[in-house]
Symmetry: C2
Subunit: 434 residues, 2 copies
């Protein structure tokens, strides 16, 4: 057995606590898999007195990052704190001090990937980041290694468990967004301030990382069109169901005529498709490669031990020496990717679901259909339910499924529709995938 790999953790919250637990409770198992012991040498925390799930000895715990930087017995540091600026500084200093880095920090990679990867290359170190996307699901290994023979054609991910939990509760229990969010918070699936989860930012961070691997593109977050689930009305979930669809928050990117389209958006998916079946706080990523065709990866996208599983896999890969070879070969977040550009969202072609609240009087459908036609949008199906006789003259929901149309044309049509006096409230619309 070779000499131990010295490990330090920065952060001992949910994920850090899980990693410490695995390292301390299963040293023999991990040593067998890694070919040498993984020795936990330091854990950097903010508060030494805070009670922790895993018992850590006083010599290991410290509040001082400098102790890790200065410790020659630490070769790998797992950065598990989250947040961008402090983490960025810490990672840069650790790399400069000759440590390899494991990180679960998607916000850091999505916003400063080039900087930290360049620093790692400059110092001859490696960065591993399996835990940054989809928790325990090994999607980073799949894209960097197992699917390496493929040109990736598309990636579709349910990458935010909070959003998927809320949408599932709205779909299966008919809850409102507010009720479902409260339940998610009560169960620990949503934070007190859920903004970054429900507005699509977290999914966009993860999508930027996946797009980097799949297409070699460093995508600025601002280039990812994104929409969250905060404004989804349960009535649209009902109409989608009637049409044979479910609504999922998808992070998607795909190749189209030499450009890369990408967005985070609620999307209508046919009920029988694999992604449509992903319920609750689970994550899934569906990938199409030109050789492998369609593959799907499914599992817990967050949580203490699933995410710790990914971090420990990275530690084992570093101990064995695989990560260093992958890292040197792939040159992620460098400037040598293919010259791909993000496709302008307006030029993306897709089908749409459109719901309007309209006056229940003759001529309205003709007016709406006319505007859609003027924008080259052809109608595939319409739902307008009969209202009771005594409710005549009131407002009704008009739901239209379009054929494939340019997003730019569709948006322009919606702008016109929203100005009609017979249309009572802003149009609601989502992309549709078959």
């Amino acid at each position: 057995m070779s000499e131990p790999l010295g490990v330090a953790l920065i952060g001992c919250g949910t994920v850090g606590g899980g990693v410490a637990k695995l390292l301390l409770e299963h040293p023999e198992r991990l040593a067998a898999r890694a070919g040498r012991p993984l020795a936990l040498r330091r854990v950097v925390v903010r508060d030494l007195t805070k009670p922790r799930a895993t018992r850590l000895s006083r010599e290991i715990l410290t509040t001082d990052l400098e102790q890790v930087i200065a410790d020659p017995s630490v070769q790998v540091v797992a950065e598990l704190v989250g947040g961008v600026e402090w983490a960025r500084q810490a990672v840069l200093r650790l790399l400069a001090a000759g440590k390899d880095v494991v990180t679960a920090n998607k916000a850091l990679l999505a916003t400063h990937g080039s900087e930290v990867f360049d620093a790692a290359r400059k110092h001859g170190r490696a960065i591993a980041f399996e835990a940054s996307v989809a928790g325990g699901i090994p999607i980073i290994a799949a894209l960097t290694q197992s699917l390496a023979g493929n040109q990736i054609l598309s990636l579709q991910g349910i990458l935010n468990g909070t959003s998927n939990f809320i949408l599932t509760a709205m779909t299966e229990q008919g809850q409102s967004y507010g009720e479902a969010l409260k339940e998610a918070q009560a169960r620990g699936y949503a934070e007190a301030d859920p903004t970054l989860d429900v507005d699509g930012t977290d999914a966009a961070h993860k999508l930027a990382i996946l797009a980097q691997i799949a297409f070699g593109m460093a995508v600025p977050l601002s280039a990812i069109s994104r929409r969250g689930i905060e404004n989804i009305d349960v009535i649209d979930i009902h109409f989608a169901n009637e049409l044979g669809y479910v609504i999922k928050l998808l992070a998607e990117t795909w190749l189209h005529e030499g450009q890369v389209a990408m967005h985070v958006s609620p999307v209508l998916l046919r009920k029988h498709t694999p992604l449509a079946q992903v319920r609750g706080a689970y994550n899934a990523v569906a990938v199409i490669g030109d050789a492998v065709e369609d593959v799907l990866f499914y599992g817990k996208g967050a949580g203490m031990m699933p995410t710790a599983s990914a971090v420990v896999a990275d530690l084992i890969d570093l101990a064995i020496g695989r990560t260093q070879r992958t890292f040197q070969t792939l040159r992620l977040w460098s400037d040598n990717g293919p010259p791909l550009r993000v496709q302008p969202p307006a030029s993306v072609k897709t089908r749409f679901y459109l719901r309007l609240v309209v006056d229940d009087r003759p001529g309205v459908l003709s007016e709406v259909a006319g505007i859609l036609a003027q924008h080259h949008i052809s109608i595939a199906s319409v739902i307008q339910h009969e209202v009771p006789d005594d409710a005549e003259g009131q407002r009704v929901h008009l739901v239209i499924m379009t054929h494939s149309a340019l997003t730019g044309n569709f948006r322009a049509a919606c702008d016109r529709l929203d100005q009609l006096t017979s249309v009572a409230s802003p149009s609601v619309h989502f992309p549709v995938e078959d």
Copy 2:
């Protein structure tokens, strides 16, 4: 860019042809991912004159394995012929000649894994075998690397696309086994002689490989209890559906009180579970690890390019040098695994579906229930549909779902039931999973 990795293929059928196609049509892509060119130096075939999907130059094609063995410019050989004895000899000779080996040959690994892996270790070579299980799905990489921090608790696989295609057609179109098999053959999903696919042998080969990685056990094939789909009656698929289940051919292994249970069997799965949704010729593997919890991998389990994707991933891993490190560390099919034993099938506890064809007269249900009770099997639910008045006195289907019971007890009860004069034909039964 480093010097090329010299590659030879043995076999240029479906999979070999796909590998040749990827290597010849996308050399730049593969060189970028592998850090050096993958140079196709030789392809060993049986018939030089046979037309091939991918154009191969005359200097590359040969019928003579010796040319590969003697060629110092070939460092890696992909064995893609199938069959056991010739492949075994070829692999042993290639390893002895200093070549690393990639293989898609599950029968070879399941029956001679220890011998070929020992030979590789003796000669300082590596064997990669991602394509041997579940085609394009990277389940070998997942188990050997991504889930390496886990103790695997269970594996459930739909590992035979032919069987799953047939069961799906029986379930969704109400076809008989014979009709569904014919359709599978017409579509190229089943061979003219489908025996090894439909009788569970192919799935058992793959299960033996997965159990080796998950539990470090070299399982003799004879220790895997196996049952195929050849005798499934569509009526059981209907009753399963009525009860909320689908029937899938599963290859399963799980840890139970320090022993490893394993079998290949048709199993009743609840409709909403992820594995139950796997349709047609797709494969899927659901894994539970003690840290990652439940993860699932899904994709094409066979076919030209999906399997080629797995072979090429192995070539890239060898080119980068990752496989060699994994291989040396894990010591698969060696004698140093934990001292686990296969759990005797009779001692496995599970729920059962039981269908009897019984005389439609008073006292029969009581007789059947009495025998089950004597064998400590408790009944969870019963279906016996009313027959039309004029059919009274005829035979009816009696379907019983049991609570969890010892397989040994259940089988003993079935033997007794089959001897009853009121039971018309042998009992039909399947394990049930919730």
